[in-house]
Symmetry: C7
Subunit: 79 residues, 7 copies
């Protein structure tokens, strides 16, 4: 495993562009959608996204821009 | 998809200038209005904005300046 | 709409100097007064300001200096 | 009004050195005293200061050093 | 003990790449998995991870990307 | 009063080295002790320190290192 | 007392490397162990550490990496 890789988890998201990911926010809400864009603060744009509260789908968005400081974790393989 | 794009979600807002967007704050309040200005901290100015608490319209503002650190997410297509 | 403008919402406050604005803090308290000074952190000085808690006027200040990190939003047209 | 002034509310405190000011913290506690020193983070030293909780005087300090990140607002004219 | 080592606890994670670690978040949730990547903000990617709430396994993830600012502590030896 | 002094409240702590000071944390706990070291983040080391919860002495420490971001205020004259 | 020392409380931890220290987190949990590494953000690695909740030992760790922003204070002499 290369040293540079091991020090840059955000770069790992690069490979997920266009794939389904799941984002859980600090308040427990989850968003599942296709990763369209992201930056180093974990600001993320998902397309064709669904919102889940307590595992129930509560909303659908063609596109959603999540502010990074609210993110708890990202599951790169959101299926 | 170009690398630069994928690392700059904020630039995606550039295309939404003048369009209706929806902002949800951390406290659940939502603002819908026309995106007039924004910056890298997600400070946003909306014009002709409506405020929604629990999906009920509670206020109208000719212009509102939302401080970015309160933002949970932005739905670029706020219709 | 010029690109520079669209990336600098704080500059929009420049035009409001001397005008009445309304500031809502994160705790819900509101301050209405004449915008005297501000900076990039949204530190703001209002003159001839009134404080409102649940829409009731609770105090008056000849001058008040609000620390920016407490600001939820600013209504530039505070009338 | 000069542009530089309008972008530097903290400089406005310079004129208040030696005058009585009032500081309200985020938890509602208030401190009234003579402004002795301050910096750009709103760290403030008051001399001959009184502490107020719910408008009742609860303490007196010859000198108090308040950490800026706790400050809600400052009333420059604390009389 | 070398001075450089003693000033860089994050470098200690370098030796744990590929090993099982445990991460406890501020909200008490725990994640156990193989350390794949990390950075200076303690953003961490675990592979083959399990989620534990009150010591009960509640979920499994092939890969999870935890945002560093949520981390309470890391047990490098997660077995 | 010199301009430099008025912009550097932290420098005022320099004169208190070796003197008794009182630190109140955001959670109300207080520490009284001899100021041994400090830095610009208000990280402080006290020696021969006592801990007070609701004005009751609850602990004694030969030395305590308080992280600055927890500090509410410092009373330089802690007697 | 040298000026440089008085402005660098973190350097004081250098002398404690290998000694027992106690860390109290903001949530009240305490960790006692041998100081192995630390950095300027108060990220700390303890070895042979015990966890205490309300003074009861609740866990033991061969090694624990505590994220600095959770730290309330450190007692350098943890015995």
């Amino acid at each position: 495993m290369a040293y540079n890789n091991s020090r840059n988890p955000l770069r790992a998201l690069q490979k997920k562009l266009g794939s389904k990911i799941l984002i859980r926010l600090k308040d427990g809400t989850e968003y599942k959608g296709s990763l369209k864009e992201y930056d180093n603060f974990m600001n993320v744009i998902l397309s064709d996204a669904s919102e889940y509260i307590k595992k129930e789908e509560t909303n659908k968005f063609k596109e959603i821009f999540v502010r990074g400081n609210n993110v708890l974790f990202i599951i790169p393989d959101g299926e």
